[in-house]
């Protein structure tokens, strides 16, 4: 039981999600605690969440249910309720453009998340050096996140334009062999998108990781200094593992952003050149609106939902088994 207690208190309070999972510790007082909480049931809070519950069930769950249903029909623009089996899914997985989209989102996702983490952490380490202008610098680094992705995409499209942007400026300054216009070539367009995505996301990553860094116990830093460990080692191998909560938060935010990516694609490349930067969400919306084949779009959307559902199930099972282990201790 002592083992379980220490395991529970690992990590600083602000990184916990705020739930108190019943562990071996509380099992003894279980009934009393449950009784006490039941008497103090917060009616006001429950009433306040009723609109959210209605919206969640009515809009999200109902909407998702309808989408899944329509993915098994031939709906073009107006609803057609006749079921046709897996026809849309067969077409989906034999469409070149969709395969490209799936490939692209993996490449873009992994590159973008790694780049964001690396740059975000570097910026956080930089900001952790007790600079005088820390607030000002933090605001500046956070500004890109405040810009909508459409504006970000458009600005970067101009910056990366060979006739007007960075390339042209460098040429005018005399550096004529400079060429940085990845968006014009189907093979490198994806990397141009990563650049814009990192520019936009590194700031908020920095802010979260900085908070995580600050949450690491001051004693750790002192102990590391006394032991003669160089600063970069401390940051990388001691502080970072202790910031699991912050890193997890960043990863979740990044994954959500990557899976949903749409506006930056539309404004930066229009899924071009050709269909080289197509992404699943862009595919879904194209088929829902421009191409008037709603059933195909919904099949793609349901397919996008699958990995999320699988991850949720996996996490749920993991939590279930982990809790059981602690209780039996």
């Amino acid at each position: 039981m002592v083992h379980g207690a220490i395991a529970e208190r690992h990590g600083t309070p602000d990184q916990r999600s705020g739930q108190t999972a019943p562990t071996g510790n509380y099992a003894a007082q279980g009934d009393n605690l449950a009784e006490r909480t039941r008497k103090k049931l917060p009616i006001a809070a429950i009433i306040a969440t009723i609109p959210l519950m209605i919206e969640s069930v009515g809009v999200y769950i109902f909407g998702i249910g309808l989408s899944v249903y329509f993915s098994f029909t031939n709906t073009v623009v107006f609803p057609d309720y006749k079921l046709v089996g897996f026809k849309q899914y067969e077409r989906l997985w034999s469409t070149d453009v969709w395969i490209t989209a799936v490939k692209n989102i993996w490449i873009f996702g992994i590159l973008s998340i790694i780049a964001n983490l690396v740059f975000g952490y570097l910026l956080a380490v930089f900001m952790d050096q007790r600079i005088k202008q820390e607030d000002l610098l933090r605001t500046i680094f956070l500004y890109p996140f405040a810009m909508s992705l459409i504006v970000t995409g458009l600005v970067w499209q101009w910056v990366l334009d060979p006739n007007y942007g960075l390339t042209a400026t460098m040429h005018e300054l005399g550096w004529t062999s400079f060429y940085f216009s990845p968006l014009n070539d189907a093979n490198t367009a994806l990397y141009g998108l990563v650049v814009a995505g990192v520019w936009q996301g590194a700031g908020v990553t920095m802010a979260i990781l900085l908070a995580g860094l600050r949450g690491v116990d001051a004693e750790i830093w002192k102990a590391a200094r006394v032991d003669g460990i160089p600063a970069w080692r401390t940051y990388l191998f001691i502080a970072l593992p202790m910031m699991r909560g912050a890193v997890a938060t960043v990863l979740v935010l990044q994954c959500i952003g990557v899976l949903r990516i749409y506006d930056i694609i539309v404004s930066m490349t229009g899924a071009g050149p050709g269909n080289a930067t197509m992404m699943p969400a862009v595919y879904v919306l194209q088929y829902l609106s421009d191409r008037q084949n709603a059933a195909q779009g919904m099949a793609a959307a349901t397919t996008m939902l699958l990995p999320v559902v699988l991850v949720l199930i996996a996490v749920g099972l993991f939590r279930l088994f982990r809790r059981r282990k602690v209780v039996t201790l």
Binding site: V76, V77, V97, T269, G270, G272, G274, S289, D290, R291
Partner: protein, 418 residues
């Protein structure tokens, strides 16, 4: 006393403002945004605003056709339909008709004798479903044109091309002279690329075979040697274009030909509207190769129509009918089509002063109906059209996508066309 006067004044103001609010505003969604197109749509706007019934044209121009049409769909589905919408004749609005969302214009058509007035019959048939009229045809546009720069051919020391095969032979000399031999833009999902392909396909296969593939879905012809040649020629053209085509729209591409930087653009005759907006005259200031073969011209019955989504307000419906009648009237047809570069749908409009290129179209329409082809989008759904756009875009873009692979995928699309 003052109080009564105040109440009286308020009552009068309410009544007056009430009657002013009865003037009908019709919101019109269209995608005519280039200089020539804007000049043309203003003729509609001015006619409607000045029709003496207090009508007002609320312009809602959306630059990309795909976006405009999907805006129409979502607004009609969402219960906030526009007053009038531009479409191309074909299957784009068949869902709207099926679901009873459009105003029935049959009574207008019978009263105005549209069936007799509109020529050729293929133009009217785009609006007639089950014996009812659901839209009003606005113009006749032909896709089958090659617009070329006389200056560019002169610089390269070449005579002006009379047909497509001669133009293909000219490509190396044009390139050597520093001119972009083939100008095209890749925006909007590849509609320009697909359109150019269709024009070349019609020229090389001939009307009968082309109709067999696109209407009868003949797979043997689609996979045959003639189509292979079309793909091969298109591949050659993709190697004779410039690198900036990726997201370029059609009128910026047209500018390349107009300025002499590029030799030829395959584009519908709305391009002539751009020349007209600059005051240029066909065959004198620029070249127009009809059907890509002067000896065997082709005119397609593409063009535009206006549909009128159902409204709940009977005043609005009356205004919609007024607009429909104005659009088909001879004066408006003359003004609009002159600015637009298209041919009027009525045969009784006096076009003796029309541009020489337009005269070529009119000659076919009036005297050689056997040279008219029906636009392919009458037969192909939006989905199939977009699949073809994807295919031709990839073919134009990717040097590793071979002629045989592309033709095999083309056959598959025709096979699965719904």
């Amino acid at each position: 006393m003052t109080r009564t006067m105040l109440v009286a004044a308020l009552a009068a103001a309410t009544v007056l403002s009430g009657s002013a609010a009865r003037a009908t505003d019709l919101e019109v969604i269209h995608w005519w945004t280039s200089p020539g197109e804007t000049a043309a749509v203003h003729t509609f706007r001015d006619a409607f605003n000045n029709d003496g019934q207090g009508d007002k044209w609320v312009d809602d121009a959306i630059a990309d056709g795909n976006t405009a049409r999907s805006t129409d769909m979502s607004r009609i589905q969402g219960g906030d339909p526009p007053g009038a919408s531009q479409f191309n004749p074909g299957r784009e609005y068949e869902e709207l008709i099926k679901n009873n969302q459009l105003l029935d214009l049959t009574d207008l058509a019978t009263a105005g004798n549209w069936a007799k007035l509109i020529r050729p019959a293929e133009v009217a048939s785009g609006c007639i479903v089950d014996g009812h009229w659901w839209c009003v045809p606005v113009n006749i546009h032909s896709w089958n044109w090659g617009w070329y720069s006389k200056a560019a051919f002169k610089t390269a020391g070449l005579p002006e091309p009379k047909d497509f095969q001669e133009y293909m032979a000219d490509l190396p000399k044009l390139k050597a002279a520093g001119i972009i031999p083939f100008a095209i833009g890749g925006d909007g999902g590849g509609w320009q690329i697909a359109g150019a392909f269709g024009v070349i396909q019609t020229e090389e296969l001939g009307h009968a075979d082309r109709d067999k593939i696109l209407h009868d879905k003949d797979l043997t012809l689609a996979g045959g040697p003639k189509m292979k040649q079309v793909f091969a020629d298109f591949k050659t053209l993709s190697q004779n274009s410039d690198s900036g085509y990726a997201n370029r729209n059609w009128n910026d591409t047209w500018k390349l030909v107009d300025s002499g930087k590029a030799a030829l653009q395959i584009m519908g005759d709305w391009a002539r509207g751009e020349f007209a907006a600059k005051g240029e005259v066909g065959t004198k200031d620029f070249g127009c190769m009809i059907g890509l073969d002067e000896a065997h011209p082709t005119v397609s019955t593409d063009g535009d129509v206006f549909v009128f989504p159902k409204q709940t307000d009977p005043d609005k419906e009356a205004a919609q009918k007024r607009l429909a009648n104005l659009i088909i009237s001879p004066a408006v047809q003359l003004a609009f089509n002159n600015a637009k570069g298209s041919a009027p749908v009525r045969g009784d409009v006096d076009l003796s002063n029309a541009d020489p290129c337009m005269q070529k179209t009119l000659d076919v329409l009036n005297n050689h109906p056997e040279d008219i082809v029906t636009g392919a989008q009458r037969w192909l759904s939006n989905d199939t059209t977009n699949q073809m756009n994807d295919l031709f875009t990839k073919f134009f873009n990717d040097p590793n996508y071979t002629v045989d692979q592309a033709q095999a995928d083309y056959v598959k699309i025709i096979q699965n066309a719904n």
